[in-house]
Amino acid sequence: MRASILKVENFAKHFRLHEQNKFIPSSHDVNLTVYAGELTALIGPTGAGKSSVLKGIYRTYLPSAGRILYRHALDHEIDLVHASDHQILELRRCDIGFVTQFLHCLPRQATLDVVAHPLVTLGIAREEARRRAAELLSAMNLPERLWSVSPATFSGGERQRVNLARGLIARPRLLLLDEPTASLDPATSEIVIGLIEDLKAQGTAMLAIFHHPELTRRLADRVVELSPPPALAKSLEKECA
């Protein structure tokens, strides 16, 4: 059995909106393990809080309950729920990558620099980082004429490739993928799938949400099914009734 990189235990996330005096449950009682060189897929209906799990691990959301145990390369464990902001930033820089459906990047920055940035923060010289970014972008069939412009003007598919390239380039130990192929054409999808398989083969642990069950079947080593939190489930039932 491979080494576990991430263990999520009894994770829950809910939101409290003070203004409207509302309590909104999102994820509920999530338990899962992610292993090195394997892909764990999250499945479940809309409203089951799949994305909240990923954001909770990345700490874009503050988890409401549970433990998120991340195992460092040096074999010590850290609970991401309680880790300091600086520890999280350091993990984001060196260990954990996140590819969402949306590209958040600095405006006015050339695509090549957007993709190279994770390498630069790891201390790799800018020229070398740009060279590797160029390699990856050409492997992903992003036309070279786009490399020097900002991705802000790109089509959905082009943006998504930039986003993926940026997430993959530093070969993180743990990669979180939230519908990474959602807006790609079949040919590019295949390329991305190839890249994910490569990365897996090199030992990256992945936790992913795919919009298509077919992809889950092809790529997932483990599948974790989430159900909507009870309060939400009840209200959904009511709506359906």
């Binding site: 409290r16 700490r59 874009t60 959301y61 503050l62 600095l106 405006p107 630069v120």
Partner: protein
């Protein structure tokens, strides 16, 4: 990453102060004016850390005390209580225990400040180059030729036309004045830079270019920065971590993306909701 600055329990009260000042003010009381003695509690118990090369955003509306934080740390004012430690290579400086000369030395050599109002950061009676020369002279560079060269390089880096180096800042546009201020702040290559609402009041396109410049500088020089702003866009763009202030208190702190996507405090939720 090494710590550059550690702030603990920083407080600033304008006025006589009384025993009830703290409990009668703050976000819950929705005021920073003490009803008992009329003092203004501009800051109470502000604590945070800043690491090497990191940008910390300090956000809040006017009167939240966000500018007071950097004014105290840059010695423009003295706090009523609290501590701040500046870690400089192998040395530690207990900022508010230093004598005035040591404080001035740190200010001139190791800190930089860019104010919203360029009149605070620049001497309008001397040329743009002279403003930079002043800071270099403060750090004991006494060679005219070298001063000229350094000033030129700094102005070129901040994209100020060198042909205007010997002009008075009063003849510059607002964006250009901020560039000169940034060049001046960077003159001694300080490891710590304070930016107080530096893009407020500028045209959007000018703002964007100044923000780009700040990011480039942070990446090139690994300068740690405290960025004070009421603008969520500026925080989103520049800061890795942020603190949110209201009526002199920190009401929330965290990673910038977390504060923007999962704000905890009612005030922050309102702030974020109204911006999006």
């Amino acid at each position: 990453m090494n710590k550059v600055l550690e702030v603990r329990g920083l407080s600033k009260i304008y006025g006589p102060g009384c025993a009830s000042c703290v409990e009668s003010t703050g976000p819950e009381k929705e005021t920073n004016l003490c009803p008992h003695c009329g003092s203004v509690v501009a800051l109470h118990d502000v604590s945070f850390d800043l690491h090497e090369g990191e940008i910390l955003g300090v956000m809040g509306e006017s009167g939240s005390g966000k500018s007071t934080v950097v004014k105290n740390l840059y010695f423009d004012q003295m706090p009523s209580s609290g501590e701040a430690t500046f870690f400089d290579a192998d040395k530690q400086h207990d900022l508010f225990c230093l004598n005035a000369a040591r404080q001035r030395w740190l200010r001139n050599h190791r800190f930089g400040m860019v104010y919203q109002n360029p009149h605070l950061g620049l001497n309008f009676n001397i040329s743009a180059g002279g403003n930079i020369a002043e800071r270099l002279l403060m750090s004991d560079l006494m060679d005219y030729g070298q001063i000229r060269e350094r000033a030129k390089a700094l102005l070129a880096r901040t994209e100020v036309l060198l042909s205007r180096m010997d002009d008075l800042p009063g003849n510059f546009s607002g964006g250009m004045q901020q560039r000169v201020q940034i060049a001046k702040a960077l003159a001694t290559q300080p490891p710590l830079l304070y930016l107080d609402e530096v893009t407020t009041g500028l045209d959007l396109s000018v703002q964007a270019r100044i923000l780009d410049l700040i990011l480039e500088i942070q990446q090139e020089l690994k300068t740690a920065m405290v960025v004070v702003t009421h603008d969520l866009g500026v925080i989103r763009l520049l800061a890795g971590r942020a603190i949110v202030m209201k009526y002199g208190r920190i009401i929330e702190s965290g990673l910038t993306d977390q504060i923007l996507e999962d704000p905890q405090h009612a005030y922050t939720q309102r702030l974020v909701a109204s911006a999006l």
